[in-house]
């Protein structure tokens, strides 16, 4: 019999290519014109809208939805992009249930928010499909800025700087830009090759030179960047992963982020090995994404083991429900204790007097693959920069402790580790850099 979900051990190709393609299609299929109009009609055009307040990039949501309802989704896209140039990706990956849609007055009133994220996708898709780029650059300022890291923070910063007429060189350690948009986000959220399409479209503004395979602290030196450019923006994300200290050793104890990254780079994904029984350790978005995608690739059982309770889980209820709906089992209050070559033992926990303690009960699960999703850490930050809580310290405008160097996104302090927050921080740092370079700041 050919390889299937029950094939023991670790194997690629548990499902047919067609099945995998269907599993990895859009989580939310794009809205049709009619669906978009009906959805837009539900928006009340609130004054001082709570949704807009909740969006880290402060997109004028009531205005863009109104522009959709009057048949001008392209104008709606302008409204979106003027605040968030990665509005297309954010429409797909934002946990809207904890951002704009959570506070939508219709969520409050009826438990059914206006589907802001899907409407945002409708508008941005429409404008991007027209080709070309919606913004023209200001006249050249003759200034140049080095942006290190081509993830959402770096892209947003580079784009805003380029618009203001500065010349930008965008460095990244990887052979491709996009950061976690390209290597991390769940494939069914950014179906097709959206991350690269968006990147190419964004570059259409002009004035941005990409320099890939350039790693800061390796073949790229900060002092050289400082010498050659008028300002430096660091957006290097969190390249390291937390270590898990448990006794014993497993044959396939891997980092969830690395596994996802390999999977994202595989065109049809049938070459990605996945266990028959997979156990994912962690409680965030990465844990959910790894578990769901393992399941979609044909793992027979997938279990997320999270050491605290449901309420403490960083992944939203929507994400947890998504995992459950795909057949992932979530074990709360289960902390990793020890490994053997093909199993994992979990200690059951509870919270006593505010402290997480083991109850003494244990359970052992068969595990052909153990994926660690217990958080990423800063790696490769230049020594001269002050850190705070393991991240590069920045003030509210994105300046680090060293004059002339700004930072934003996951690598820097402030905000949640989300795509949209990274975009906001990149954009705002660009404005601050611009003011400084033009002698206004």
């Amino acid at each position: 019999m050919s390889t299937n979900p029950s094939t023991p051990g670790i194997a690629a190709g548990r499902l047919s290519a067609a099945q995998v393609a269907s599993n990895f299609s859009d989580l939310h299929p794009p809205l049709t014109d009619h669906e978009a109009r009906v959805a837009a009609d539900r928006c009340y055009f609130c004054h001082d809208a709570p949704c807009m307040e909740a969006c880290p990039t402060s997109i004028d949501i009531p205005l863009f939805i109104r522009q959709i309802s009057t048949g001008t989704p392209e104008a709606a896209a302008h409204t979106i992009f003027s605040q968030n140039i990665l509005g297309g990706m954010c429409a797909r990956v934002c946990p809207t249930e904890t951002l704009c849609e959570e506070v939508c007055v219709r969520e409050e009133a009826e438990g059914k928010p206006v589907i802001i994220g899907q409407l945002q996708r409708y508008a941005t898709d429409r404008l991007m499909a027209r080709g070309g780029h919606p913004y023209a650059r200001a006249a050249s300022t003759g200034k140049s800025v080095a942006v290190v890291g081509a993830g959402p923070a770096g892209l947003a910063c580079a784009h805003r700087l380029a618009m203001h007429g500065h010349d930008v060189t965008l460095f990244d350690a990887r052979p491709k830009g996009g950061g976690l948009n390209e290597y991390g986000i769940a494939a069914y959220k950014a179906a097709g090759d959206f991350a690269q399409q968006e990147l190419d479209w964004l570059m259409g503004v002009g004035g941005i030179t990409c320099a890939y395979d350039q790693r800061l602290g390796d073949n790229l030196a900060l002092d050289a960047l400082q010498a050659e450019h008028d300002a430096v923006f660091l957006a290097i994300g969190l390249a390291g992963v937390n270590a898990m200290t448990v006794s014993g050793a497993h044959d396939a104890d891997i980092s969830a982020v690395d596994w996802i990254s390999d999977m994202r780079q595989s065109p049809n994904k049938t070459d990605i090995p996945v266990g028959r029984n997979v156990v994912v350790i962690g409680g965030g978005m990465t844990a959910v994404d790894a578990a769901v995608q393992a399941k979609l690739l044909g793992a027979e059982t997938v279990t997320i083991a999270y050491r605290r309770d449901k309420a403490a889980m960083a992944a939203s209820v929507f994400e947890q429900d998504l995992a459950s709906s795909k057949g992932v089992r979530i074990l709360y209050n289960a902390a990793p204790k020890s490994l053997t070559a093909d199993s994992i033992t979990l200690a059951r926990t509870e919270t006593r007097d505010g402290k997480l303690v083991e109850t003494g009960e244990e359970m052992t699960l068969p595990a052909d693959q153990v994926m660690r999703a217990i958080g990423q850490t800063l790696e490769g930050a230049p020594d001269i920069l002050a850190l705070e809580n393991g991240k590069i310290y920045v003030n509210e405008t994105g300046q680090t402790s060293v004059d002339g160097i700004w930072a934003g996104g996951d690598c820097a302090t402030g905000g949640e580790d989300l795509t949209v927050t990274a975009v906001a921080e990149g954009r705002d740092a660009a404005e601050d850099i611009h003011n400084r370079l033009m002698g206004k700041g």
């Binding site: 009619h34 004054h47 009057t70 302008h78």
Partner: protein, 432 residues
């Protein structure tokens, strides 16, 4: 991006979107915020004569018609003209105009139908810097009972007389605001023109009762158990207003009279439609009262996008574009034949098209055994009713028959243009 700047009877404004004379323009505070929000101009809330101002009711003055999801479709009001002292309004108008020289500030007026009061109020306005005046001959409630507003607007002779006084006693560009509560809009429009008006604006509100409370048996809005008719406005009145605008624009006698289009303008599209039918600009009241001043941003972005896509660089190039195509019924081509076509892939089989055609005298849509629906070309008169009731967009469309093609209903070939004036059944038609 398209240039939205507008010039209407010599009055310049950054865009053709003006706020109509109504509560949103009743105060300096409002008007300043309106300009900041992006409105191109305002017609100040109607001023009355000096002395003690009018008094409004102190209970509900609005009633509304809502869609099922509480979208406001029509608004009714029993508000009077400004209830603030004339001096206060005049000071405010002067200050606002000084600070916003590039925005249009037109002042709406309504005083008793005598020459003295009109002369006096025009003098009071001389130093305000206002760009023009609008004569409110439209308000259909309250003021009309006192011989003003629509009481003047319903008598063409009065319109002409007052307009003449206004032109005699001032140099202000003069817009005459018309009431729709008449039988034929051309009479008041022509009277305004003959009186020397620079433009007409229309429509003011339509006499209406929005609802009746079936417990208290009182019309709503109800003031202490009684109700009076009010003026209807908002999206519901747009078709009525557009027809009146088109009537004036396509009538040879009044065709050159500039028009400011009012009535239900809520989106860029509404504005563009009014302008295509001959309005030089538009005025908005209910939409601003329903959503706030910010909606003008959608009007601006939408009109710009439309103009860019059409390659239209100036708003004046939209004005009147649809007028040559607005005709009398008798001009329409009776040899233009279409047939309804159902897209079977889109059809959800609700049966509505069948039953409305069945019960509306044509019986042209078959309902087959397998619950599929098909148009019988031999019966279809192309009325469009099925298109209008079908819940699925573009599911039923109209196919135009080619010249020479047989119309299965009549058995005749489709011929060249011919209208009723020459039709053999028209016994009044002149032959040859």
């Amino acid at each position: 991006m398209a240039d939205l700047s507008s010039e209407f009877i010599g009055i310049k404004s950054p865009n053709p979107f003006w706020l109509a004379s109504a509560p949103p323009t009743d105060k300096e505070y409002n008007v300043r915020r309106a300009f900041e929000a992006g409105w191109g101009g305002v017609v100040w809330k109607t001023l009355g004569e000096a002395g003690p101002p009018v008094v409004n009711v102190n209970g509900p003055r609005y009633g509304a018609i809502h869609g099922a999801d509480r979208r406001l479709l029509g608004l009714n009001n029993i508000e009077l003209i400004t209830d603030r002292p004339l001096e206060v309004n005049i000071e405010e108008i002067t200050r606002v105009k000084k600070d916003y020289p590039d925005h249009a500030v037109v002042v709406s007026l309504m005083v008793p139908c005598e020459e003295g009061p009109w002369r006096d109020i025009l003098r009071r306005l001389e130093d305000t810097g206002a760009d023009g005046v609008e004569l409110n001959f439209g308000c259909p409630h309250g003021m009309a009972e006192r011989g003003m507003g629509s009481a003047v607007g319903q008598v063409p002779e009065y319109i002409q007389m007052v307009t003449e006084w206004v032109k005699k006693h001032s140099d202000f560009p003069c817009i005459v605001k018309l009431t729709p509560n008449i039988t034929n809009i051309l009479y008041p429009a022509k009277a305004a023109m003959d009186g020397g008006a620079d433009a007409v604006s229309l429509i003011n509100t339509i006499n209406s009762i929005t609802s009746v409370n079936l417990d208290t048996f009182a019309p709503e809005p109800t003031i202490d158990g009684w109700g009076a008719h009010g003026g209807y406005c908002g999206p519901a009145v747009k078709p009525i207003a557009m027809n009146m605008v088109a009537e004036i624009a396509r009538n040879p006698e009044t065709a050159k009279l500039p028009i400011s289009g009012i009535g239900g303008v809520t989106t860029w599209r509404d504005a563009a439609e009014f302008m295509a039918l001959g309005a030089g600009n538009v005025q908005v009241c209910t939409a601003a009262m329903t959503y706030g001043f910010k909606i003008v941003q959608e009007m601006i972005s939408g009109l710009s996008q439309y103009m860019d896509e059409k390659g239209i660089s100036n708003v004046s190039d939209i004005v009147g574009r649809a007028v040559p195509n607005a005709k009398d019924w008798q001009d329409l081509n009776l040899n233009y034949v279409t047939k309804a076509v159902i897209d079977q892939d889109k059809c959800i089989k609700c049966g509505r098209c069948h039953i409305v055609c069945e019960d509306t005298s044509h019986q042209a849509i078959w309902m087959h055994e397998d619950r599929t629906f098909e148009v019988n070309d031999a019966e279809c008169v192309a009325c469009n009713l099925c298109v209008n009731v079908c819940p699925v967009e573009d599911c039923i469309t109209m196919r135009e028959l080619d010249l020479g093609e047989i119309d299965e209903r009549t058995g005749k070939k489709v011929e060249d243009y011919a209208n009723w004036t020459t039709h053999p059944n028209n016994i009044g038609a002149s032959c040859g």
